[in-house]
Homo-oligomer: 137 residues x 2
């Protein structure tokens, strides 16, 4: 029962919020733009406004439920926050996204931040390239 999860965050369990959460949880494509979410909801016959999608995703982000990324094309995408940090490897041809985590890189980052006396709040590493499939075609 996801209604409970939302209420814990101080958010009413409304239909749009539940639908958006379900969509993010059950979709194969983990990374979606607001527009993607909106279109998919319409396709499912849900009557929702694009503004609401933005509002809900922003609230979810504030609540730590989702993470927002700005990939290099300038578009924002959202993904469910499953609690473990990870970085991204993206294919610029087909859009495939691979998530990875590398402890050595994480450690080096902590060292660098410390050398400069910063308090780290967030970090993101995007690697862009061409995946094996797209290299062949």
């Amino acid at each position: 029962m996801e209604s409970q999860d939302l209420k814990k965050l101080g958010l009413k369990a409304t239909l749009p919020r539940l639908r958006i959460l379900q969509l993010l949880e059950n979709s194969l494509q983990r990374h979606k733009s607001a527009e993607d979410v909106y279109k998919e909801l319409l396709e499912c016959g849900e009557d929702v406004g694009l503004a609401t999608v933005y509002r809900v995703l922003t609230q979810f982000e504030a609540a730590g439920l989702v993470i927002r990324h700005h990939f290099e094309n300038g578009l924002s995408v959202f993904e469910l926050n499953e609690g473990y940090h990870h970085d991204h490897l993206l294919c610029i041809r087909c859009g495939k996204i691979i998530e990875f985590i590398d402890e050595k890189i994480e450690q080096q980052q902590r060292d660098i931040v410390q050398q400069h006396g910063f308090e780290i709040t967030d970090h993101c590493l995007y690697i862009y390239g061409i995946c094996p499939k797209c290299q062949k075609s």
Copy 2:
């Protein structure tokens, strides 16, 4: 004589292009949005259009003269491409940007890309935090 540099790239050495290039080369603040560039040119008494700034920066990017970044606020900033790759450490309070390069991180990235069979085209690492000065105030 920078006109030559532009001509080599197949770009006519026009006034707006020269001015924008100079601005990027001579400014202390290496990272600027299109709007920043536009305003600074106007302040210098240059009569230039914002559209031209965007066009020129985009051409410069295509020519490899500048690099475009999309920081997490969603704004694009441009910096002169001085030929050496580097990553960025940013203060979310005061906007300070520190450039760094860490060979271990670079090596780990190459390993990861290779493990997944990708051909790397680009990569960027942004670390966000609070700088020493802003921690005190």
